[in-house]
Amino acid sequence: MRSYPLARRPQGFGQIGRGHKVTTYPFSPRTNGGKGMALSQGWVKRYFKAFCKGFFVAVPVAVTFLDRVACVARVEGASMQPSLNPGGSQSSDVVLLNHWKVRNFEVQRGDIVSLVTMGHKNRYVKVPRGHIWVEGDHHGHSFDSNSFGPVSLGLLHGHATHILWPPERWQKLESVLPPERLPIQSEEDCLRGSP
């Protein structure tokens, strides 16, 4: 028959041991400090690990979404009146810029588009292959292809499809080509061989 000696230490009571360090109950001051500190360190480390994990998931996904799918932008200026910002400086429209729709660089005449910014004047301009001609709706007050010429399709950033703000102006933006701004001669005309 074996016996299990109870080791008694001066600082604690009710301590059960088998010769090596075990939990003391109740906690004595010395071991309580060590044990408490170990617990709080573990807590901080776990929190930090969870934060890093969340950060490296959330930030790339959000950035990729804003770059590739859609983002939101405030319209400034009067160059697109009356379709956008009809109220002038009182209320700026907020539009949805749809990157996903232009991922294959497909746009139609009449679409409202946003362009990556940059930095020529003839009466008639031939728009080269792979380029587009963009104009603001408000002719006198627009810095557009009339100033900087046709724009390369690779600069296409997004297709503004909706007005999101203010709520009373919530609408889908229609693709409309003003009749006085129709191309003089389109590609189809050339192919058909019209006079």
Partner: protein, 166 residues
């Protein structure tokens, strides 16, 4: 068992999306490995060479004359071109005709750069399609990884003294 498979599938999709997004951010804002094809940058970059491109400079307007850049092609936005920056906006570019008879010059417009390949005989570049908008530049190539016998930083232009900014 179906729930196990479904769970695994969703986890796989989740990881794919997450790593895809990290890859997009890495290439868009830091840099990546690129394989070049075509003869227009010989002898600096040969066909099927693998190079390292950094995409930070373009965000800070740090592209300089003499840099080799990757840009979206002006005539086909879905493909990329790899050329050297010969002129920045405002620079005067000397354009030689093949016979050397007419030496005319033009100025690079605001917001554009003038690109030329190192292999002048066999390169379609700004001499053909004109100045290229700065916004089409995607990154700067600065280091060659493959082939190993040409490992290291890229050389200066073999066509030297084509820069003119007086």
């Amino acid at each position: 068992m179906l729930r196990g498979v479904l769970g695994k599938t969703f986890r796989l999709i989740g990881y794919t999306i997450q790593y895809g997004c990290i890859a997009h951010c890495a290439f868009e804002y830091v840099g990546g490995v690129v394989m070049c094809s075509g003869p227009s940058m010989e002898p600096t970059i040969q066909n099927s060479d693998i190079v390292f491109a950094e995409n930070l400079s373009r965000h800070f307007y740090g592209i300089q004359r003499g840099d080799i850049v990757i840009a979206k092609s002006p005539s086909d936005p879905k493909s990329n071109i790899c050329k050297r920056v010969i002129g920045l906006e405002g620079d005067k570019i000397l354009s030689n005709s093949p016979s050397g008879f007419f030496k005319s010059h033009s100025y690079v417009p605001v917001g554009h750069v003038w690109l030329e390949g190192d292999n002048l005989q066999n390169s379609t570049d700004s001499r053909y399609y004109g100045p290229v908008p700065y916004g089409l530049i995607r990154g700067r190539i600065f280091f060659k990884i493959w082939p190993l016998n040409d490992f290291g930083f890229l050389r200066d232009s073999p066509n030297g003294h084509r820069f003119s900014d007086d």
